[in-house]
Assembly symmetry: C2
Amino acid sequence: MIVALAGGVGAARFLEGLIRVIPQSEITVIGNVGDDIELHGLHISPDLDIVVYTLAGLVDPVKGWGFRGDTFQCQDMLHNFDHETWFNLGDRDLATHIYRTEQLRVGKRLSEVTRGVVRHLGVRIKLLPATDTPLQTYVLTTKGYMHFEEYMVKRQTAPKVLGVSFRGATSAKPTRNVIESIEKADGVIIAPSNPIVSIGAILAVPGIRSALQRTKARKVGVSPIIGGKTVKGPAAKLMRAVGFRATALGVAECYRDFLDTLIIDRVDRKLAPEIQDMGIRTIVTNTLMKRMSDKVRLAKIAVRETKR
Amino acid sequence: MIVALAGGVGAARFLEGLIRVIPQSEITVIGNVGDDIELHGLHISPDLDIVVYTLAGLVDPVKGWGFRGDTFQCQDMLHNFDHETWFNLGDRDLATHIYRTEQLRVGKRLSEVTRGVVRHLGVRIKLLPATDTPLQTYVLTTKGYMHFEEYMVKRQTAPKVLGVSFRGATSAKPTRNVIESIEKADGVIIAPSNPIVSIGAILAVPGIRSALQRTKARKVGVSPIIGGKTVKGPAAKLMRAVGFRATALGVAECYRDFLDTLIIDRVDRKLAPEIQDMGIRTIVTNTLMKRMSDKVRLAKIAVRETKR
């Protein structure tokens, strides 16, 4: 069993390759719930949905989130009801949130509901939210604390970030099977996601970080930072904000207490010696995932490295 | 102020005429909540929405409910999640239910939320749900009790009905202003709606029937039964099921304890003497509302009769 820690779009693209390298039934993904937000009374799990929609082959390939060809009729109307509609919710996408919200209201755990979403969309990996207890990522900006999605989507990452905090983290419990799946994994992959807010919110759940340190599985990361920049999202900005270098070196620093190997891009090859000095094996390759062949090749390298 | 008791499609069509005869600001509609149902975790108020959408000029003119030109993308997807989707919910329509559900969850009363729906859709009548406390119409069939919408939409009125009951009616309280609006009305109109389940569920709220008996306003009804048939819906079937004749006579019987005048169709003119014998003035005219001119003419007759 391969266990992957995954955030949103970057991770989902990597996982598209992974499911073509090993069977879905042998993949457990630990997903980020820090971006979860309640809007219009609906529980939205952006990162979990991105992973499922992508692996179901239904995701909007340009945006990287939502369903391909979705419409926004309900949202247009919610706007008429004076609802804030800065977080785009397509009509088909809404069904997932309506389903999730109803299931949670009748007492199901997020992990059970997520299993339902995965199954109903025809995906066969195991997707475990890092925690079933509420944990939300907030960024401290010069305008005060705001929910990560407000910072990311509503404010378009404009406010200057002074820090990141995970509300509910101290009392959060890892979802059942999360610790066990890490302990018993044949390999662990840290997908190319934001190390501060996406993977960071997973690692903030008590017990997960120590399970990664403890497990005998090899832990292989893919740097989401290429040439000091992120392909998508504010990873570089947030890394700097909390005191890391916004390079593959900074990524290595985020994971150095448990990581065995870091896969970095060719443009960052000069950083390899310094990462190796941290005791982390470094693989230099093309990490930009444009075509499916890029995703498959990268996944192959990562899987091979877990077996080393 | 004219007060109208209203159910769904028939009433809404009548009200389209009424708002062209007197200003919206002088109309209070007491609406039926007996058809309200929770589906997918959302609170749906079919009759209230039909009235608002119709008066907003946004209703689907063929179906008589929902928004004109609405799509059903979310519902298609809910079907994938194994949700029962026999109750059609368009994407734009869903916004109303999402808005209502969220507002109710944060503690607002249905009447307050309804005021919001009315205002946001640009309608200016006052629409009061008969009660803010839960009241749901159930029909007893040979297959047991079922929610009215299940009987009406899911079972397409196929089961044989043995009786009708209003769950929550004994403890229901009329919405604030309902009793006062009836007492102070210049005229009361019973719109052409199902006397058993639509108007019946309004009259089942303790205090409303006695307010109608007590008020000095003239009370004018429009028969929804034309030649022993209903234009739309199961009114005739349900009237017979609970022991009334499925004719304009039966309608008069339903309201005889408070009604001053009943407007009936020309095809039913032979029934006029017997209705008059109950002490109810009878006006014979064309009551079928096909065009806007039909609706306006009928509304004019009803309004004139309240001033008699």
